[in-house]
Point group: C2
Chain length 314, copies 2
Amino acid sequence: MHLPTLSDIQSAHKKIKPFIHRTPVLTSQQLNKIFSCELFFKCENFQRVGAFKFRGATNAVLSLSEKEKKNGVVTHSSGNHAAALSLAAGMNGVKAYIVMPETAPSVKKNAVAGYGAEITFCKPTLQSREDTTRLIMGKTGATLVHPYDNYNVICGQGTAAIELLEECNDLDIIVAPIGGGGLMSGTATAVKGTDGRILVIGAEPLNANDAYISFTTGKLTPSVNPLTIADGLLTSLSELTFSIITKSVDRIITAREDSIIECMLLVWERMKIIIEPSSATVLAVIRENPDFFRGKKTGLIITGGNVDFRKLPF
Amino acid sequence: MHLPTLSDIQSAHKKIKPFIHRTPVLTSQQLNKIFSCELFFKCENFQRVGAFKFRGATNAVLSLSEKEKKNGVVTHSSGNHAAALSLAAGMNGVKAYIVMPETAPSVKKNAVAGYGAEITFCKPTLQSREDTTRLIMGKTGATLVHPYDNYNVICGQGTAAIELLEECNDLDIIVAPIGGGGLMSGTATAVKGTDGRILVIGAEPLNANDAYISFTTGKLTPSVNPLTIADGLLTSLSELTFSIITKSVDRIITAREDSIIECMLLVWERMKIIIEPSSATVLAVIRENPDFFRGKKTGLIITGGNVDFRKLPF
C-alpha cells in the first residue's frame, strides 16, 4: 500500500492555498493556566464551511483529470465532508452529488443545497448509502470522494499541520482527533516528516474507541454502533488510515463524554470561539492526562465549529 | 461640562496599551453577502474579561493618584464592568470593592471573586446599590469608578475605535451599541476627532430606547424598567454621556428583540465566534435598515462575549 509522504502534503498545500482560508493559531493564557501547559489551537473552525474537511475535499477536486471533472464527484455524508465537497466542487465548476440519509437535520441539507450540490436521499443505513452512491456513480460516471479513505483527501487534511508547524516551530506534542483517521493520517505524516521528535497523539472518544483498540491490538477493529456527542468521530478507520496511523502516530488516548462536554464549554466560555464536540476531544485528552502534558508545548487541531445550537449538551 | 477630546483618548490608549489585548478586526464574506455591505467587526469579545469594559476600567485605575491607589476602587455592577475593574485593579496592585445584587448569577460572582475583588452583596435595587457603595466609600476612602459616567472610563472605551480606524482607514460608518453611553461617547469622540466624514451611529434595543428618545427630543429621559435580552444595554444615559452623544453622534437607530436574537445566532453560526446579545444589536440595526447601509464600509464595535450558555434564546 502506497502511503502519503510529507512532500505529497506540501504539494497539496501549494495546490489548495488559493482556495482555503489560512486559519489562525490562537492561544489562551487562562487555558494554559488551567491545564499547566502551553496550548496552540489551530482553528479550523474558521476554515470555509466551518471545518478542516474543506482542505481534503479541495485537494481531491483539484486532483481530478479534466475528464473526471466533467463527470462530477459523489460522496455519502451528512456532515462537514458533504458541505466541504459541495463547496470545493462548486468553486471549481465541478458537479457534486451528495448522498444523505433522509433523517439528516434540515440545517445540513440546506447547507449542502446552498452550495449547489445535488442531494439524493437514502435510508439511514450504511447499506442504503453505499447502494445509492454506486447507483449515482453508474449513472453519471462521477468520481467517489470518500471522506477519509482517499489518498488526496488525506494529503489535503495534513496541510493544517503544515501551517501549524510553520507558525510554532518548537512544539513538543501535536494532538488531533480520530474518527475515520483522515485528519490523523495527514497530520501524523506531516508532523513526523517535518520533525520526528514531535510526539503525535490521537484523541478519540472512549465511546467510539475503534482506533484505540485497533492501534493497541494491531488488528483493524471497526466500532459497532458507537454513541458519542463527538458526532464527527463516529466513523471507523479504513485499511489505509490504519496503516498510516500504525506507522506514524505515537499514542492514541481516549476521552470520556463528560470531559468532552466540559472542555467544549470551557473553550466557548474562555476563548469566545465556537468549537464542535469533536474538536473538544483533543482538549479532553489533555484534561484527563495532566501529568503527560504538564509543561509541554502542545498543538491542537481544532477541527470545526458546526454545532446545532438548539441541541446543546449544557 | 468638560468633554473628552481625541487627544485624551489617544493618551488613554498609550497608557493602557501594555495591559489590554489588541483585539482583531474580523470580516465575513458570508455576512457581507447577506447584508449587502462590507462589515468590519472590532472584536472586543476577545478582550480581557471578554468585554471592552476592560479598557475603561484600566484607564480609570491608571489615572488614580498614588494616594487614591492605596485606598482602592469601588463600583456597583454585576456585569462586565465589575469583572473588568476587578482585574484592572488587581493587575495594578489596587484593591477593588464590588457591590453586587445578591441575585446576580453565581458565574458572575465567581468571576469577580476570582480576580481577587472583595464583593459586598446588596438588595437588587438602585437605592440599595448606591447606599452600599457610599457606605464602602466612607469606610475605606475608595474611589468610585462608575461604569460609564466617568471621564477616564469614557476615554478608555474610545480606544477600541482608535484601533479600528488604524486598521480600516476608509470606513463610511461606525456603529456602536448604547447602554449608559460610555462606549458610544468614547467611540464618537475618537471617530469624529479623526475624520468628521465618518457617520457615527448608535444602536439601541427598541425595548430600552432611552438614548433614542433623549437624542431625538433633546431632553435626557431615562428608561423605566427596560426589558431586553441585550442585558448590557439596560442602563440609561447620564448628563455627561448625553452631552457627548448629542454633540458627536449622527443618528441613533433602534432594533427589535427578534432581530437582535437572529443576528446573534447568525454571527455564532457563520463566524464561529461568541458574541453577547448587546453586541448583536449593532448588526440588528443594519439588518433592519438595509437601504441605509447598502454598499457601505461599516465598522461595528463587538462589545463582548459573556453569555450564559444555559439560558440561550434559541
